[in-house]
Symmetry: D2
Subunit: 142 residues, 4 copies
């Protein structure tokens, strides 16, 4: 299966700016979640799918590199891909660009695990082979 990426676009809201007149840095971590959600929906393993399996996927770690500022009404394009999937952990990569200028404004990563209804770690590879197959197919080496 070809490498999968996804471009999620959204405009900066007024309430996301701060008194430096730029997007407050805490919002990018929320945009990562928005883009990740849209990505997983697009590739058939969205939140509903996870819910069917009784699985939640909390965040283990996040890293953010701020390259350029953005501000109110800028359109930001968030390119998401799965960088790594081990059957137990999942790692996303994010590149955000300013839609108008094309400039890279942000790069980031997030790492996730899987928990079942009793909040115990899940080995997706063993418990949910179908989901495992989808996620394996989504890993992008690029």
């Amino acid at each position: 299966m070809e490498n999968k990426i996804y471009d999620y676009a959204r405009k900066v809201n007024y309430y996301e700016t701060d008194k430096m007149c730029i997007t407050h840095h805490s919002n990018y971590i929320r945009w990562m979640e928005e883009a990740r959600t849209a990505y997983l929906n697009r590739y058939g393993c969205g939140y509903r799918k996870f819910e069917e399996y009784g699985v939640v996927s909390p965040v283990l770690s996040v890293s953010c590199q701020y390259k350029q500022t953005t501000t109110f009404e800028d359109e930001v394009v968030i390119r998401v891909r799965i960088k790594r999937y081990t059957g137990v952990k999942l790692e996303f990569g994010y590149e955000m660009t300013n839609a108008k200028t094309g400039a890279l404004v942000f790069t980031g990563e997030s790492e996730h695990c899987f928990l079942d209804a009793r909040h115990m770690p899940v080995i997706v590879r063993k418990r949910f082979p179908e989901l495992d197959l989808i996620l394996k197919g989504l890993v992008s080496d690029e």
Copy 2:
């Protein structure tokens, strides 16, 4: 029982400002929640108490009047009181002042009902006489 009010103080955070260099207006509604939570804890019917009863208390309506702006590092004092309690609905009033200048910066109200675990409306007066008594005693006519 004497009329009960409560003063909850908190500083404006950097991430709560916007590009007009003032506190974004959406934050005041969150501060109302913070102050209401502290108030209910103070008077023995906090979140834990509600949880024991299996009751949640969602917001039915909110109104906000912005009198003066505030900004980063301002200390805001939020005076909370219960304006009305009918046994079915609860209404809070809020007055926020700038701690330094004493100026009134905000007034607001919020109205709440009570739902049980099955999300059905609860008549507190009938189902939880103990809680009913506490809430009745907290109403402030001022």
Copy 3:
């Protein structure tokens, strides 16, 4: 000129939910801003226009009536209109519906004034006749 309304749609984000598993009530006030911004852009008097005039338009008051809950991945359609414009003050009305069920989930209002660069109140009617004309034409009696 015909009455002007605008429908702005957006999905509920995961980070907008709370531990009651519903959209936290504070987010609706932010969605009102999103919808108001889109409305003004649509009708030729967006933020850039206001900036050209050196005018900002802070919020004087907000009221929110919560009719039904929404949650993660629900699509909410926000119908915005200008209810009143006096030449000095501007009032927006909002009706939010669940796109899937059509149910009314929220109604709200917001009231705004106009300030110039020195943060002094502006009588738009006198200082900016062009903007005044646009705003007058947008008032919807419906």
Copy 4:
């Protein structure tokens, strides 16, 4: 000068939880800012000081490691220290613990630079020797 650390405590607000019934991960990055602000105020180089110099200090990068969940009404103690200061860049370290259990819930880092009023990079070492001296004295090797 002895190594400087600072403990900043705060309770989790209701509006900071999500539908997993835990603190949404995006809030920790805001708490880092709250703690960093309190730290700098405590050691005489708070926001006002920076403003006097005409200097802002944007975030270059952030990393977050989530160790344990927290939720509404948990008190979180945020231990802040300056890990590195080069005269051009500043790096903070954060360790958050649950006040009740003492458990480590989060570790993080943030990296900052300095910009002047024209948004040009500032070499603090050269331009603001007094501020440079304070920051040097705050670096904690621990």
